[in-house]
């Protein structure tokens, strides 16, 4: 059964018709990767699911329509979001960034500090003074702090050093044991490691849906749909 269903979803940004009636399902459990070349609408898809851009069409979460629901209520229904550019609050400390994300009394600090022990040590440091990798840890930690039904994670390894990519991939693998993840990711090594299903976007339309392993095993499909040579090494 699918946890998240998208039907005939359209988004216009200015004059551009960025999403042109896309349809896909995210099954419960595991990681579904949303793939595609740069600029095809992957980030816009996540932002549309979150209600952060005006959109038209149907989005259901566990059968409930959320396409007209404001962002904060979508989140309270159990949707966590890790944005592309991390969007940590630079003027707040790490602790304050995490505290802000708490939605109820049983925030999972044990899980977060187990995955990212560095965040405990840097609790009083301003988030704006952290490295890119540390900021990414804060962004993921904010989403993992609550018991979400689905996490929307946008390019979590973008711009990170290889060692940090591995750490983030470990965190995603652990997160996928606890909840459903819809992952936008350019690093196909990470996708190969964590994703069960793959949805491929091209210029605002869905062009492929299927098991991630099958897609990544086909050099021809990877080249044609994603514009890259091969899945690359595992992180």
């Amino acid at each position: 059964m699918s946890l998240l269903s998208v039907r005939d979803l359209h988004v216009h940004l200015g004059e551009s018709h960025v999403l042109q009636g896309i349809e896909f399902d995210v099954p419960e459990g595991g990681v579904t990767a949303l793939l595609g070349r740069n600029g095809v609408g992957k980030t816009t898809t996540l932002r549309a699911l979150m209600g952060l851009v005006d959109r038209r069409g149907s989005i259901t979460l566990a059968g409930d329509e959320i396409s007209a629901t404001p962002t904060h209520r979508i989140v309270r229904r159990g949707v966590g979001y890790v944005p592309e550019d991390r969007d940590v609050f630079a003027g707040l400390t790490v602790e304050e960034n995490l505290r802000l994300a708490e939605r109820n009394g049983d925030a999972r600090y044990d899980l977060v500090y187990d995955l990212f022990p560095e965040l405990r040590e840097r609790g009083r440091q301003l988030a704006g003074t952290l490295s890119g990798g540390q900021q990414q840890m804060v962004a993921i930690a904010r989403a993992l702090l609550n018991d979400n039904r689905v996490l929307l994670v946008d390019e979590p390894t973008k711009g990170l050093a290889p060692a940090l990519v591995t750490q983030v991939a470990d965190a995603l693998a652990r997160a996928s044991e606890l909840t459903t993840v819809l992952l936008v990711e350019q690093n196909l090594g990470v996708v190969q490691r964590v994703a069960r299903d793959a949805v491929v976007l091209d210029t605002g339309r869905i062009v492929h849906i299927g098991p991630a392993r099958e897609l990544l095993a086909s050099e021809e499909m990877v080249h044609r749909m994603l514009g890259v040579g091969h899945a690359g090494d595992r992180p």
């Binding site: 952060l52 904060h72 609050f89 802000l100």
Partner: protein, 293 residues
């Protein structure tokens, strides 16, 4: 020396008055991106709420009457500001031109309404006798209302800073100043923080109105409009959204105004403030502090 001291304390007192108006203006812009041209109306409503209550509390002594009337003015200012946000601003988020039109219109309409009801003349205020006397400091006879203005501004600055640092709503407001969309993406209804910030701004502006009544000894329907201009200058110099920058800028503006009026020529104070604004914007286009709350 005593003249310089008197000018300095009066300048800081005037800066305190500007800070009380500008603090709310700065927070509202920082969090919501709303240039609230109706902020002077909050001051007017608070000032006249205080004056009206004071005029109806004849049975009480001067001090309790002043305190109760001031409390009424603060409540009226806060409630009025919250209603403005809920009824007029909320439907216009992201529509900046309409916001400007509505807030400018509300500012003008509020003054016109007060004039229509109570006339254009300034209304005398009764206040405790101590406020009308002076305290001698190093040979300077400093009017006591200056101390009250400075004390009130310090209390508001400390209270607002503590609120922003120590409470969850403060955390939401500080985060919202940086990135409003991400705050909602954490499951927070940021609109409640908007209403709260408007109410806080309204109370601070009403306090400025009440203390302005004491400083000028009258309640004047046009004071909100004239002080709002200086409050905007303070906010721009201080850095939109920065409480600390606003406090520093308010004191600088108050001092420059006083010194220029005395040492250059009466009337040059206002011009000096505009020149100061130009110089600061040339040197630091984002104001003294940039945007941090």
């Amino acid at each position: 020396m005593s003249t310089l001291l008197l000018l300095t304390i009066t300048g800081v007192g005037l800066g305190a008055l500007y800070f009380l108006i500008a603090s709310g203006l700065s927070l509202i812009y920082g969090l919501m991106g709303v240039l609230n041209f109706a902020h002077g109306a909050f001051l007017t409503v608070g000032a006249f709420g205080m004056w009206y209550a004071e005029s109806k509390l004849g049975g009480l002594g001067v001090l309790p009457r002043f305190l109760v009337a001031s409390l009424v003015g603060l409540v009226v200012g806060g409630v009025f500001a919250a209603l403005v946000e809920l009824v007029l601003i909320r439907p216009l988020y992201r529509r900046h031109i309409e916001q400007v039109l509505v807030t400018v219109g509300l500012g003008l309409a509020t003054t016109a309404l007060v004039v229509a009801i109570w006339g254009n003349d300034a209304r005398p205020i009764a206040y405790p006798g101590w406020l009308g006397r002076t305290t001698t400091v190093a040979g300077a006879h400093v009017p006591n209302d200056r101390w009250l203005l400075i004390a009130a501004a310090v209390v508001v600055l400390v209270a607002l800073t503590t609120f922003l640092k120590r409470t969850r709503y403060g955390l939401i407001i500080r985060a919202g100043v940086e990135n409003r969309a991400m705050v909602t993406a954490l499951g927070i209804d940021v609109r409640k923080a908007f209403t709260l910030v408007f109410a806080i701004g309204g109370v601070a502006a009403a306090l400025a109105g009440i203390l302005g009544n004491v400083y000028f000894t009258t309640a004047d329907p046009n004071r909100g409009t004239s002080l709002l201009i200086f409050a905007f200058i303070v906010v721009v110099i201080g850095g939109l959204g920065s409480l600390r920058g606003t406090a520093v800028a308010a004191v600088v503006v108050g001092l420059v105004q006083q010194y220029a009026n005395y040492y250059a020529s009466t009337g040059l104070g206002d011009l000096s403030v505009v020149l100061l604004l130009g110089l600061v914007l040339l040197a630091r286009p984002r104001g003294l502090s940039g945007a941090f709350a």
